[in-house]
Symmetry: C3
Subunit: 160 residues, 3 copies
């Protein structure tokens, strides 16, 4: 009988800001998580990820290498980021084929959304279950598979 190598989900080599809360079990390694962030249970965050202060990452989400997320974002439950688009019709044979994702500040991503490698500007809402396949370069509310702009954000007073 063969025995598998067993690794354990863990917190390893993470640079935390002050006042961060994490609900274990999680698998977080070699990433940077800003001040006052919240990381829910059953979350994986991979090496090189940077998350700005006061961002909340809810349960069951996966944030892969080459993703950068801004400040005061809300990453819902079951949100999956992607860096390999299988552009050769198979998994990338090496990291040079991976592509980055940059998420601005005050971006809210609904639960079960899927984020291909894109750029998302500040002040964007992405609906639950959306599949984001292209850059989002203006603020607003986006949803669907593939995600399209539904409407502008409601007027709001900042500082609320």
């Amino acid at each position: 009988m063969n025995e598998p190598r067993r690794w354990q989900a863990q917190i390893r080599d993470v640079v935390f800001g002050h006042g961060v809360t994490v609900v274990e079990p999680v698998n977080l390694y070699e990433c940077v998580i800003g001040d006052e962030c919240f990381i829910g249970p059953f979350v994986e965050i991979q090496r090189g990820v940077r998350i700005g202060r006061r961002t909340r990452v809810q349960s069951h989400s996966f944030i892969c290498e080459l993703v950068t997320i801004g400040e005061e974002c809300f990453i819902g439950h079951g949100v999956m980021f992607i860096n390999d688009t299988f552009q050769l019709g198979r998994p990338a044979p090496s990291r040079e084929f991976w592509k980055p994702t940059v998420v601005g500040n005050r971006v809210c991503i609904g639960s079960n959304a899927t984020i291909l490698p894109v750029t998302i500007v500040d002040d964007v809402v992405i609906g639950a279950g959306a599949v984001v396949t292209r850059d989002i370069l203006e603020p607003g509310i986006y949803a669907g598979n593939p995600a399209r702009k539904l409407r502008s954000l409601p007027q709001q007073q900042h500082g609320g």
Copy 2:
């Protein structure tokens, strides 16, 4: 180096009926789970949730505050409930902005479905991967993003 606060996923202050089975790790707190329910692994159920008897909640699902689920329901794998619709274009600044979800009896929700705050009557099937954005007020089979009615339920003998 900062250290995060580490909480542990756990079962805390849950009122269980008789004959409930839970596969850990799970994060269940301040909720009510009826007789003979099954809760799979990697599930989170938040405070105030009520689940009727003989309902099964499969692995990887998330049930948030303000959700009530009836009897003999089947909540598939990776199903995400939502109470905050980001109606201000950002996370709700307080709980008064959250909205409730009520799921009737004998409702089957397919895996990876996403349920916005809605009412769902008895005897509904929601297809896998559906995104439910509106109330479902008559029995039948619903699927898609956004979910629409596909057809009526097959005739069936009750008690089968």
Copy 3:
């Protein structure tokens, strides 16, 4: 106060090939996992599943009974397989109503995809967030809800 039965996610009665890596916590039981496979954290694989060599199953995925997966496949994050289509308008009353899924070799399934009981031939790419409701009988790239063929695979040299 009632106490629930508590089971623990675990590795039980699994036949592993050589060189398999598993990141716990996982719930794997009564299945066969081929040489040099990788199984990420928060994964459940049920009884009777067979997975070919060098296949990678990423975090948060669920593989149910009656699923067979070939060699050198990539199962993304949060992928859910299904064997019960609720064909009676409710969960199958017995296993005879469940249906099998067969996935060929070199199949890549994007994150958050949902796979109803189907056959998928060799050399298929399924986009992130897709819902596969019908057999996929020719190689190519498929996406959407429900999934449709987008285009053929890029020409490629094998052995790359």
